[in-house]
Amino acid sequence: MRGLIIVPAFNEEASITSTLARLQSRPAGSDVLVVDDGSKDATARLARAAGARVVSLPFNLGIGAAVQTGYILAAREDYDWALQFDADGQHPASAIDRMVNALEGQACVVGSRYLVDSGYKSSVPRRLGSRYFSLLLALLGCPGVTDPSSGFRICDRRAIALFARRYPLDYPEVEAHLLLARRRLPVREMAVSMSRREGGKSSINTLDSVFYMFKVTLSLSLGGGR
């Protein structure tokens, strides 16, 4: 089984080297692709120096387009699975093997911080936001999602083909759940414990949060996932 680990990165020079070092212990037969999303810092250079394959977008397109670039490459180069892995050090490399095994019979497996109490401390607004989107997804026919905004996910060929063709560009994680559900592709969550980011800046700041809630709600309600 050939796998591709997609690491979208935007101005992550503080953490990219350690993130890639952790990925040295990845499953055999898997490759690492860093999608540099128009970083202004040394992210791409450091990633290349660490031995990763790097695709550099000419300017910042946002997390959705960066991740989709990875899926397009995974589809074209015929990978069996593709895994999204944050460059900021939040995702545990040690869980990748379990994710690959859990993919059996599933189109997508999502690492959840809230499936069991893993001790992950997130802010109250973030947690409330997660609950809100879980409820919204359930109302729209996609029940049982405990961590809708988790970007730690692995996809099989079916989901790779779908995401290479169509992937939400802004704040994509929540809408991607609906995209899979609408096509009746099986998805499950797997408990993982995540760390706090090592460096860089989150793609969602406090001011963006309101816009984020509004945009995702609108997008989901008006037929997101179609």
Binding site: D31, R53, V54, V55, L57, P58, F59, A65, L73, R76
Partner: protein, 126 residues
């Protein structure tokens, strides 16, 4: 005939005259923009629609009062304002749709360019 009435008819004729000239100039400008390729024919449809509406009211000035009456608008210039706001909203919506499509195309283009460039640069040994 009453002199004031004749003056009013003459004024109306003058207004129709310069409005007609303006309309013709607008049509020529739109046609030139499309011909030169500065305005896509599909985008020009909205503008030609606006031009046709204005020209109808210039050629047939009574149409405005009739239409306003039919719509229950007592003061017919209000209809002009309403139509103007509606037309501008349509143009704005049209532009937003066009920008969205262009943005999607630019994204795909940037992804393709990055993937081709990424292929050209051999990855370091892992």
């Amino acid at each position: 005939m009453d002199e004031a009435f004749l003056m009013a008819v003459a004024d109306k004729g003058r207004v129709q005259g310069w409005a007609g000239l303006l309309s013709m100039a607008t049509f020529l400008l739109l046609a030139a923009l499309v011909r030169q390729g500065w305005l896509k024919a599909s985008y020009a449809l909205v503008w030609f629609g606006g031009w046709a509406t204005c020209t109808t009211f210039i050629v047939w000035p009574g149409a405005m009062d009739r239409l306003a009456g039919a719509l229950g608008i007592g003061y017919s210039p209000t209809l002009i304002l309403f139509m103007l706001v509606f037309a501008l909203s349509l143009v704005t919506l049209h532009l937003a749709v066009a920008v969205t499509r262009l943005s999607r195309q630019v994204t795909r283009l940037a992804q393709e360019q990055a993937l081709r460039q990424g292929k050209a640069v051999p990855p370091c040994a892992d």
